[in-house]
Subunit: 170 residues, 2 copies
DNA sequence: ACTTAACAGTTCGATTTTAGAACTATGAGG
DNA sequence: CCTCATAGTTCTAAAATCGAACTGTTAAGT
């Protein structure tokens, strides 16, 4: 399976993984939310190779997550800022951070605290139902095929039923 | 940077990315939440190579996200089920799906709909503040160093300030 | 008894990605 | 002219992934 194949799967998760589903991309996006905007800033904060950084930034721009805008002429320089599509990744980032805060902290505790400006308190992100406002857990959610589901009726199809191996097919 | 170096960074996001931050791991976890439990099930649903699948499952078990439990003797067979630590990844999964539903759908619409058993309605996940219940956005959140922050006072340090390149350092 | 099948992996050569380091390009400042 | 800052590009070596076949265990069919 190639990376671009992911984006054509009838699964919002696979498509999203095609965009942000690799280590460096996620770390670059972390930096974006921490207000890093420039090539050198990403490079020195992350220790990513310049080659990969250039490639990942290009990909994120192509996908509309970042916008590349000039901040000076002569020499032409650009910086990378989150589009609305990119800003909408915030819940994903917060969910990732929160899981790490819950399950991956050492004895010293959390590396970062998040303060909600509106209420002034340090908080955790909680995922709730848009309809009733109750917190969500996997067991309370039932999945249906939607209008964009694959044409076959089942939730998913094997697509490769030929599992001929062992002792040569001859 | 190696994968295991990520898990020692003083950043909950980096640590989490060390666990789930690759394409196949995320897709394997998707299958877990869709109730896949067995090796062949993962393999045929995803088209992942058996080699990688075995490796990723082992890693997820080692990290306490999945538990490998026998479901029959003779021949000994095991299945992989989510631990509580694994189930806690649900908000991440939902956030990823929701971003895809918002930004990556084709003309036909969403591949899947999610129904909340408690209220009976199709819903979107919304991330709110644990303290005041208001929906969160990046701009309303202020970050402080927590007790597990790196020893230097700044939010982050370059760690590699020596950027000697160009025309030999001699 | 022999053959086929299901399941859960392991092994191995070929291809693709990533790492690591140097190099290019443009203009500023001394 | 030399050096620095910024933003890349290019190159080779190392690591990860792919694709396909192979191993081992037991049940079922003939």
């Amino acid at each position: 399976m190639r990376w671009d194949a992911l984006e054509e799967e009838p699964c919002s998760m696979a498509r999203t993984i095609g965009v942000i589903g690799d280590r460096w991309t996620l770390l670059i996006l972390r930096e974006c939310f921490l207000r890093t905007r420039r090539f050198e800033g990403f490079q020195s904060a992350l220790g990513i190779t310049r080659h990969l950084l250039a490639e990942r930034l290009k990909k994120l721009v192509r996908q509309g997550v970042l916008r590349r805008i000039p901040y000076q002429d002569s020499p032409k320089r650009h910086e990378y800022i989150l589009t609305q599509k990119g800003l909408d990744l915030y819940p994903i980032m917060m969910a990732i951070v929160h899981w790490g805060d819950t399950h991956m902290v050492d004895t010293r505790g959390r590396p970062l605290l998040h303060e909600h400006r509106k209420c002034g308190k340090n908080f955790d992100p909680v995922m709730v139902c848009s309809e009733c406002g109750e917190p969500l857990s996997a067991k309370e959610v039932h999945i249906h095929p939607g209008p964009g589901a694959r044409t076959s009726p089942a939730t998913k199809a094997p697509e490769k039923p030929k599992a001929k191996t062992r002792r040569s097919a001859a």
